[in-house]
C-alpha cells in the first residue's frame, strides 16, 4: 500500500492531503498530487478576494458578469444560490460587504474536487483537509492491522483546542466547521449585518463539501433555528453539531 501525505500553502492557509493507494505510487502519485496542487492554485487565482484580478474580485466590482466567467466560477455561483435558498438566506454570499464573496463555500467545494481528482486517478483512500473543511474518500489504511478503517475526524472544542469534543467516523463524505474562533469574527448575519451569534462553533457532516461548508456558516448565523433547514430533503443525511455560545452545552442533529 502506497502512502503519501503532502501539505502545501494555498488560500492563505495550509491544505493537507493524506492518501493511500494500492495501485498508484511513486512518481505517478507525486504527479497526481502536483495536479491537485495546481488545481488549488487555480482556485486561488479565480476566487481570491485578495487578488484584484481574480474572477470573483472582478465580479465584486462589476467589471464582469457571471455569464462571462469560467465554468468553475459559474458552478460556485449556482451552488451559492442553492445554499442561500436551503438556508433561508442565513448563508448569503451576496450580503457580504464589498459584494459577492463565496469564501464560505469554496473551501469545502474545492476539498471535494481535490479528493475526487485523486480518486479518479486510482487513489482509493483520501483525506483532504482545507483548514478544517475536510473531504474524505474510501477510509484510510491502517498498516498496523492491515485493514481499511473509516477516517476518524475530531471536532475541536472552540473553548479549548486541547480537546476534541466529538469524533465522527467518516468513510466517504465531508465535514466542515465554522466558528468565531476560526479567523476572528468573520461571519456576519446577512439579515442584520451584525456578527453571527447563533453558535460558538458549528460542524456539519454530509455528502457534499460545499453544502457542509455553507450550512456550518448558516448554523453560526441562525443558531438552533437552523435545525429546520435540515428537515429539507436536500439535506437528508446531513448531521449537525453546534456548540452554544454561553452555556457549556451543544446540540446536534
Amino acid at each position: 500500500m502506497n502512502h503519501l501525505r503532502r501539505q502545501f500553502p494555498v488560500w492563505g492557509t495550509i491544505v493537507d492531503v493524506d492518501c493511500y493507494s494500492q495501485s498508484v505510487g511513486g512518481a505517478e502519485l507525486d504527479r497526481v498530487m502536483e495536479l491537485v496542487i495546481a488545481f488549488c492554485e487555480d482556485v486561488d487565482r479565480d476566487f481570491s478576494t485578495y487578488k484584484s484580478d481574480s474572477w470573483v474580485s472582478r465580479l465584486r466590482r462589476g467589471a464582469v458578469a457571471i455569464e462571462d466567467c469560467p465554468d468553475d466560477v459559474r458552478q460556485v455561483w449556482d451552488l451559492s444560490l442553492r445554499a442561500k435558498w436551503l438556508s433561508d438566506g442565513a448563508f448569503d454570499p451576496w450580503a457580504v460587504e464589498g459584494g459577492f464573496d463565496p469564501s464560505g463555500l469554496v473551501k469545502g467545494w474545492a476539498a471535494d474536487k481535490c479528493a475526487d481528482m485523486l480518486v479518479a486517478a486510482g487513489v482509493a483512500h483520501v483525506q483532504v483537509n482545507a483548514a478544517g473543511d475536510l473531504a474524505l474518500r474510501g477510509g484510510w489504511f491502517d498498516s498496523s492491522v492491515g485493514e481499511v478503517k473509516p477516517w476518524s475526524i475530531g471536532v475541536v472544542n472552540p473553548d479549548d483546542r486541547n480537546e476534541v469534543v466529538k469524533v465522527y467516523e467518516i468513510t466517504d463524505g465531508a465535514i466542515a466547521t465554522s466558528g468565531t474562533y476560526e479567523r476572528g469574527a468573520h461571519i456576519s448575519d446577512p439579515h442584520s449585518g451584525m456578527i453571527a451569534i447563533g453558535a460558538k462553533s458549528a460542524t456539519v457532516v454530509g455528502a457534499e463539501g460545499w453544502l457542509c461548508d455553507a450550512m456550518a456558516t448558516a448554523v453560526m448565523v441562525a443558531g438552533d433555528d437552523a435545525a429546520k433547514f435540515f428537515g429539507q430533503s436536500e439535506l437528508a443525511g446531513y448531521q449537525v453539531f453546534a456548540v452554544n455560545r454561553h452555556e457549556q452545552t451543544a446540540w446536534e442533529i
Binding site: L4, R6, P9, D16, A124, A176, V243
Partner: protein, 186 residues
C-alpha cells in the same frame, strides 16, 4: 477571544490549521521543513494486505458519530482525554527520543518563526518559539504563539487522523515544528 479575533481578522493570509499534521502516532511523512513553498512530502510502502475500498461513486456520506462521554454536556470543560491516548503515547515511546529539538528558522512575510520542542519519552512536553516575529505584528504574535503551543501539545492527545475546526496556526510555526518533530523521530 473577541480581541484576538479582531487582530486575526487583519492578518488573514497567515492563518491555517495543522492539528492533524502532528496527530499522535500517525506522523508517517516527516518533513525537513526547510522550504517555505512546499513541505512534508513523503511516500512509504507497506507490505500489509489491504482490502480495496469501494470507489466513491456514492454521494451518500457514510458516517458514524462517536460522541465522547464528555462531549455534549461538557463542551467547555477540561480534561477529556481520548480513551486511546495512552496507547498512542506508548507506541511513540518505542521510537522517539527524549530531549529538546529545534526546528529550522522559517521566514514568513511578517518575520521569522522557529520552534523548539521538548520531548520526554516520546511525548511532547513543551513547545516554544525561540524566534518569533516582532514589530508591528507584536500583538498578533504575542497572542497567537501561546495558542499554537497549546495546540502542539494537544494534537498528540487524540487518536484521530484529522481535525475539523480551524486554528490560528501560522505556516511558519507549522513548518518549523515539522522539522523539530522529524529530528525527534516523532
Amino acid at each position: 477571544m473577541g480581541g484576538l479575533g479582531a487582530v486575526l481578522a487583519i492578518t488573514p493570509p497567515q492563518l491555517g490549521s495543522s492539528e492533524l499534521n502532528i496527530a499522535g502516532g500517525s506522523v508517517i511523512g516527516s518533513s525537513t521543513g526547510t522550504s517555505t513553498t512546499a513541505s512534508a512530502s513523503s511516500t512509504s510502502n507497506t507490505t500489509a494486505a489491504t482490502t480495496s475500498a469501494k470507489p466513491v461513486a456514492t454521494k451518500k456520506a457514510t458516517t458514524k458519530a462517536t460522541t465522547k462521554a464528555t462531549a455534549k454536556a461538557d463542551a467547555g470543560a477540561t480534561a477529556s482525554a481520548a480513551p486511546t491516548a495512552a496507547a498512542t503515547t506508548a507506541a511513540a515511546v518505542a521510537t522517539a527520543k527524549s530531549g529538546t529539538f529545534t526546528g529550522p528558522a522559517i521566514f514568513v512575510n511578517y518575520g521569522t518563526v522557529q520552534v523548539k520542542i521538548t520531548v520526554t519519552n516520546g511525548k511532547i512536553t513543551d513547545a516554544v518559539a525561540v524566534q518569533a516575529p516582532s514589530g508591528r505584528n507584536d500583538r498578533w504574535t504575542n497572542m497567537a504563539l501561546p495558542i499554537l503551543k497549546k495546540q502542539t501539545l494537544a494534537a498528540q492527545s487524540a487518536n484521530i487522523q484529522g481535525a475539523s475546526g480551524a486554528s490560528y496556526t501560522s505556516y511558519g510555526w507549522y513548518t518549523s515544528l515539522q522539522g523539530a518533530l522529524a529530528q525527534a523521530g516523532l
